[in-house]
Symmetry: C2
Subunit: 124 residues, 2 copies
């Protein structure tokens, strides 16, 4: 198909700043009904990602700080990548979301396996 990440990505991405607590991250996920939060440094650079799965890890291990659970090597995509390539990348890394970044590395969106799976319901 010619569908690219930019066609499907969530544009008003919920972000969170590093250095905060896990409870703050959990409240943000619940208030906005999301499972994934890209983590930014004070200067706005993407430094990690935290998911509701990581919150479960925190509960299982008694952690308090976001830095203790967030993933630092973030797998990302760009608006012009095909959704097939994005889906393969998520499958390869067993993850369910990719922050979408522009040429200067800023987070401009988020694409989730949930959004991609919707296509199966409409395409066929």
């Amino acid at each position: 198909s010619r569908t690219v990440v930019g066609d499907l990505m969530i544009r008003n991405v919920q972000l969170i700043e590093e250095g905060t607590t896990i409870a703050v991250a959990a409240r943000r996920m619940i208030q906005t009904s999301v499972n994934h939060l890209p983590v930014l440094s004070g200067s706005g650079t993407l430094v990690g990602i935290v998911t509701s799965w990581d919150i479960a890890k925190a509960v299982a291990s008694n952690y308090i700080w976001l830095d203790e659970i967030m993933s630092r090597d973030v797998i990302t995509t760009t608006p012009d990548e095909s959704i097939e390539a994005a889906a393969k990348k998520m499958q390869k890394h067993q993850i369910s979301a990719l922050p979408v970044i522009d040429e200067s590395g800023h987070v401009i969106g988020l694409i989730t396996s949930e959004a991609i799976s919707v296509l199966i319901g409409v395409w066929n």
Copy 2:
């Protein structure tokens, strides 16, 4: 397509018994790397579902018991339902997994939006 839920569903579903704590549910999710746990009564009937999103809700609200956060009206599917219908059902209810039940109501599998999104990577 002719693909049905039974073709894609996870068969060794991680389950959890009602009445347990949220910490036990969180540990189970982390040990088996899943985001969704169907909840069974002592007699094996499906009574709810708990997800890593619900664990985040627990952290945001200081809950302790699974019964405080699990969803009771479970949206389910059957092995012979088309994956298109399953995808539409998940979209309608804004959820990312469906327990798969047999004629007697027992949980025999789980289908996730993550598994369905993989098809986009392979079909096109």
